[in-house]
Symmetry: C2
């Protein structure tokens, strides 16, 4: 069976501040039930689980968004995970190393879903800006950070090969949602107490671009520091 | 309507010589009727028009290939072109500049199809190698080149944004097929006498990767000079 990761927009377009929402959640959900993303103007961090779209706002508040909410960037896929392992007592770096060693698929896209308890969870949520939009680096400086200890929830991660850095973030790009919705967002750091780790390897990246958006279509990306700014911000 | 460019494999995987055919022509044709590619071991240059797959072999001979012929890399799409212009008396550089100026879509993928007469056509066809495969640069040194004057035919070109250099060739990647099948291949240079130029802009790149191929999955691409070798070879 074809395993497809759908991506709307690229991380590169966020770098110069092309933050207009160019796809609705209703349209996005036609491509899957599990995913991550951000709202127009970098309006928080999205975590999509079982077709429910949760937005972690920069206030820390977590809500479900309506179908007409729009996104400049998102990843989504139809969940079809396979169990990988039950893992315990690992830092973020140790966990990502374990995933590399066990999954052994550095040259393709895959998703990892971990449901469990985290001794530490450190996240951020971007703060919505309005036009004219600032760059990703400038907007990232307005992000709010959150921490929690001994929190249960779901860590949803996408791995992208180095060849696609710029379109996506090379390596792991993870969002988190607490079971009790007390904390969530783009993951900066964590320590796993114990969790069930599942993996889904994709053979296809369906890269969708906002070609109706003239700002995107006419932007001169050659002047942006795409690779370094993404590495610094994400 | 969604406009999809399907790509099997990446140009990056050709660089270290991952030349195994990982998709059949029969499978490829499920994704379109118009395209370009190469055979296993860099076995010539493919031009796909109206669902017919022509192979320009390194001998210069042009034939149609069977459905079980396999490819390590190919682009294909369902033709849905729109007329752009009737253009005359242009060098390759002048034509590509005209396309840039008229299409104005540097940040997405598109295809250009030109049917007409060419005052000059200079092509190459890669020569099939066998395992263990050499690198793209080494194999490219075994290519055969062909020239013709005042030849009628179809120039099929794909434009890729710079962000995707490595997955594809940034800029224009063109193959040619003469109407009388006397010359074809990967285009090195040409001069257009007069041609009908059509364009099809894509909003989606469907990037398919050969995840069943263990050589590809386990290859360490960090040691390859992906960007410079592609620019030199293509």
């Amino acid at each position: 069976m074809k395993q497809v990761l759908f991506q709307h927009g690229t991380l590169a377009l966020l770098v110069p501040g092309l933050l207009t929402g160019t796809l609705t959640i209703k349209e996005l959900l036609q491509h899957g039930d599990t995913g991550i993303g951000t709202g127009e103007g970098l309006d928080g961090e999205l975590v999509i689980l079982q077709g429910q779209v949760y937005q972690v706002q920069s206030t820390g508040h977590i809500r479900q968004v309506p179908g007409d909410f729009t996104v400049p960037f998102a990843n989504i896929h139809h969940a079809d995970y396979h169990p990988l392992a039950q893992l315990s007592d690992l830092t973020q770096a140790q966990l990502y190393q374990q995933l590399n060693d066990r999954i052994k698929a550095p040259n393709t896209f895959y998703s990892v879903k971990i449901t469990g308890t985290f001794a530490k969870m450190h996240t951020r949520a971007a703060s919505k800006s309005t036009p004219p939009y600032a760059t990703l680096l400038a907007t990232a400086q307005n992000q709010q950070e959150f921490t929690a200890e001994n929190v249960s929830g779901t860590l949803l991660s996408y791995y992208s090969p180095k060849l696609f850095h710029g379109a996506a973030v090379a390596g792991y790009h993870s969002h988190f949602l607490a079971e009790d919705l007390t904390i969530g967002g783009h993951v900066l750091d964590f320590a796993l107490t114990s969790g069930q780790v599942q993996v889904q390897v994709f053979d296809t990246l369906e890269q969708h671009l906002p070609i109706e958006n003239q700002e995107f279509m006419q932007h001169d990306f050659t002047k942006d520091n795409i690779n370094s700014d993404i590495s610094q911000s994400e």
